[in-house]
């Protein structure tokens, strides 16, 4: 339960980070808050040769509430982002999701971008990012690119990020007028990874329901209606489509049950 040896580099700028990534490639891992990475190092699931600590990089520590997006830099902790979200009083989905995200002791160090880059299929932030239709800004030594959240998550702990790229920031779209947002989650204890997490956005343009913890990545479905048999049928299809697996915490059947029932409850609440 101790990490294997590695060299440690504390970077001072984003420029240095991408330079180091170009130099070390696969041998390096980015250390932001370390709330997933250090656990993986302790269990020797990861044994990088070099750790690049970005937690003190000032130009990655910016968070900005704009008209269109909430933009969060790579070194911004979840606790800082949570405070900005609560204070702005205008980002309802994230405001509801944050308290579920680990524990306050892990949010104090864990970063928003780290959770996105880690891409655990039951994590809350990737689910919110995909449900809101957000984007991930990637930067390497040679180029910058912006990837839609729907394209970014590729599977369990797998993303569109190349090994020489840094998740420089992520963009959560600000809420649409007249839309209503909700988040619910079932987990073993409060703050643990979700057995099933649901993020909903209901507006006159339709219903978007994001599901975490079931498929191999956060999944968003557009549902045809907000009530009645058609909604039940759509949720039934969705529950089966996600190809739920059983593990020691919950059976596939229970996960499908949660998708159907919590989904209906959430959408009914949001559209009443």
């Amino acid at each position: 339960m101790k990490p294997a040896a590695f060299d440690y580099i504390r970077a001072d700028s984003a420029e240095e980070v991408v330079q180091l990534l170009a130099e070390y490639g696969d041998d390096a891992r980015i250390l932001a808050g370390g709330q997933s990475l250090i656990a993986a190092l302790n269990m020797r699931l990861a044994q990088p040769r070099v750790l690049i600590d970005i937690s003190c990089v000032a130009d990655l520590s910016r968070i900005r509430v704009g008209n269109k997006n909430l933009t969060v830099g790579a070194a911004v902790t979840q606790a800082v982002a949570e405070k900005v979200v609560q204070d702005s009083n205008n980002i309802p989905l994230l405001a509801q999701a944050f308290p579920h995200l680990g524990h306050f002791q892990t949010r104090n160090r864990g970063t928003v971008c780290g959770s996105i880059a880690h891409a655990d299929p039951s994590a809350e932030l990737p689910l919110c990012l995909v449900t809101l239709g957000g984007a991930v800004n990637l930067r390497s030594w040679r180029r910058r690119r912006r990837v839609a959240a729907s394209e970014f998550f590729r599977g369990v702990l797998t993303t569109a990020r190349e090994t020489n790229e840094l998740v420089e920031s992520v963009e959560f779209p600000m809420p649409k007028k007249q839309a209503r947002y909700g988040f619910v989650e079932v987990s073993m204890r409060h703050g643990d990874f979700a057995l099933v997490a649901l993020a909903g956005a209901v507006s006159d343009q339709g219903v978007r329901l994001g599901v975490g913890g079931v498929a191999d990545r956060p999944w968003v479905e557009t549902l045809p209606t907000t009530s009645g048999d058609d909604l039940d049928a759509a949720l039934e299809d969705l529950a089966w489509k996600l190809d739920a697996r059983s593990d020691q915490h919950a059976s596939a059947r229970y996960r499908r049950h949660l998708v159907r029932n919590l989904g209906r409850k959430l959408i009914t609440e949001l559209s009443s």
Partner: protein
Amino acid sequence: MKRLRHTRHTVAIRLNGIDRTGECEPRTLLSDFLRYELGATGVHVGCEHGVCGACTVTVDGLAQRSCLTLAVVADGREVRTAEGLAPEPGVLSELQAAFRRHHALQCGFCTPGILMSCADFLARVARPSEPDVRQMLSGHLCRCTGYSNIVSAILEVASGNEDSPDA
């Protein structure tokens, strides 16, 4: 940029108000550095992957898992552990005294971590409700108490009215 090879380096922190230095490799966890280099064995280590909360300390005032923090990352920062809570030898802090009164510990393994979480939590949330306290405690595992007595002790201190003197 600061580069440290995988060999031993000096790490300096301010531990419970006193400047301390020790040596460790970059891979050394803050929990091990505190226990083995600096002798702060009030830092308990249960799971070493962030689940149990026994190793919680504050770094620059923020409660966090010392098993998920590298000692080299904490270099230059202010770290507090349960050893620093008592105002003087033989005298318990208000919260420690409340834990004792309420029988909020049995084996005591989880206790130092919970006390350090409370140090941060009570500084931010002036009048927490019971659900607030239980949510904060969700980051800790206690195998003995069933949590109820811990909740009562914390709520009593948070409300500022201890009804019985330190027994």
